[in-house]
């Protein structure tokens, strides 16, 4: 085992100047700007749903999509704040109110005005288009967030992963809602809450491993490569 004074010598030898992290709110803003660009690209390439203006006139839809976007923004702020060691873990609750509004709006809207799947059933082509938007939106956002938060693998991997997955899920669900119109309540539920559950689930299962991978491959400087790596947070 290396003795502590020897480890200090090795650490000092590897102490190259580092660039300080920008404040979490600014970094969240950068990520949200990327999310805005991706949403705009999806809208340009795929086109918005034809009845978007009319749909936004319906309070349930407008409140639902606003709550989803707000959840995405607050969850991103929470993830970046939680990744700083001395910030309170209560930041994880920041997106909880808007998440509750989003889930209850979508759920209540569907239950109060249930529209069952029509006689033509589910159109496979449309649903595959939805799936493509889900992947094209969530994957780049998740990768960007993973790279920006990689150092959190050593600290609060669980909380940061949860908040990050929620941010990606909410933004993706908002994108799907703006681009695709679903008449059937079951599909609205599936695409809103199903997307959120899927991304949050995948994020929770794989997020820690992904953060660890990113931390081990992207954090080390040439000087640090000689040091033993600290064990990741369990």
């Amino acid at each position: 085992m290396t003795r502590t004074p020897e480890l200090i010598d090795a650490l000092v030898e590897c102490a190259v100047p580092v660039r300080r992290l920008r404040p979490p709110i600014l970094r969240a803003g950068l990520w949200l700007a990327l999310a805005g660009v991706i949403l705009a690209l999806v809208a340009v390439v795929h086109g918005l749903r034809p009845d978007l203006a009319e749909a936004l006139g319906r309070p349930a839809f407008a409140v639902g999509i606003a709550a989803a976007l707000a959840t995405g923004i607050l969850a991103a702020v929470a993830a970046f704040t939680l990744s700083i060691p001395d910030r309170s873990r209560w930041w994880l609750l920041l997106p909880a109110p808007t998440l509750a509004v989003w889930v209850s709006t979508v759920g209540y809207g569907c239950l109060a005005d249930w529209v069952s799947v029509g006689p033509e059933g589910v159109r496979l082509g449309d649903e595959l288009g939805c799936l493509a938007i889900l992947v094209l939106t969530s994957v780049p956002l998740a990768i960007a967030l993973m790279v920006m938060l990689r150092y959190a693998a050593l600290l609060r991997a669980g909380s940061v992963t949860l908040a990050a997955a929620l941010a990606v899920a909410a933004i993706t669900a908002a994108a799907v809602s703006m681009v695709h119109d679903h008449d059937a309540s079951a599909l609205i539920l599936a695409w809103n809450l199903g997307t959120a559950a899927l991304i949050a689930g995948v994020g929770s299962l794989c997020g820690r491993a992904m953060l660890r991978w990113a931390a081990s491959h992207l954090t080390l400087t040439h000087a640090d490569a000689r040091l033993p790596s600290p064990p990741p947070a369990s």
Binding site: T2, V12, V16, R20, L154, P231
Partner: protein
């Protein structure tokens, strides 16, 4: 604030030292790590008993501080930042130790056994082998009936019936011979011990 980063109370200002370390000042970084270590040791000492575990926890914390030193904002106090990292690492190590203890058994010298008796390491290994040699010598010096009884019943671990069949003697004769042999051996070995 003095020139070497000391506050009015004489303690070094860790926030300032870390700020300098982020800019690549190795002397400040060394001073910070050396100052921190006893404090981290006292934090780890509250949760671990073994000195090895305490030192491992301290080294985990130092490595983590080094890996995330860019995440420190010098405008904020250093203490809470360090304690948050230390607590995180200590909890992780406690979890790992608890998991390891729940599925691993530590081997002691008593668990190491080999078929050949002299191969078994023991703190009193030489004493054991000397005693074994003395016992074998004492058995050789017994009268033939007693020696045969001891060999069959104790060394070869036969039952009385098997020993009676092998030696052609009655069970009661074997019992008597064994009893006398053990008595003689005890006498010989006790008299030999200094």
């Amino acid at each position: 604030m003095a020139g070497d980063g000391r506050t009015a109370s004489g303690n070094r200002d860790w926030s300032r030292l870390m700020g300098c370390a982020q800019d690549g000042d190795r002397a400040a970084y060394r001073a910070l790590l050396q100052d921190m270590t006893p404090y981290l040791r006292s934090l780890a000492g509250r949760c671990f008993k073994e000195p090895g575990d305490i030192e491992d926890a301290v080294q985990d914390i130092l490595l983590t501080v080094h890996a995330v030193r860019h995440a420190y904002d010098p405008r904020r106090p250093f203490g809470p930042w360090l304690v948050a990292i230390a607590n995180r690492r200590i909890i992780d190590r406690l979890r790992r130790l608890t998991r390891a203890k729940s599925r691993e058994i530590e081997l002691t010298a008593e668990h190491e056994t080999f078929s050949d008796p002299p191969a078994n390491l023991s703190s009193n290994f030489s004493e054991v082998s000397v005693n074994a040699a003395a016992l074998h010598e004492a058995i050789e010096n017994l009268p033939p009936e007693q020696r045969q009884a001891i060999r069959l019943l104790k060394l070869k671990e036969m039952s009385l019936k098997e020993a009676a069949a092998a030696s052609g003697r009655s069970i009661s004769a074997l019992k008597v011979a064994t009893h006398r042999a053990i008595k003689s051996l005890r006498k010989i070995l006790t008299s030999e011990r200094p």
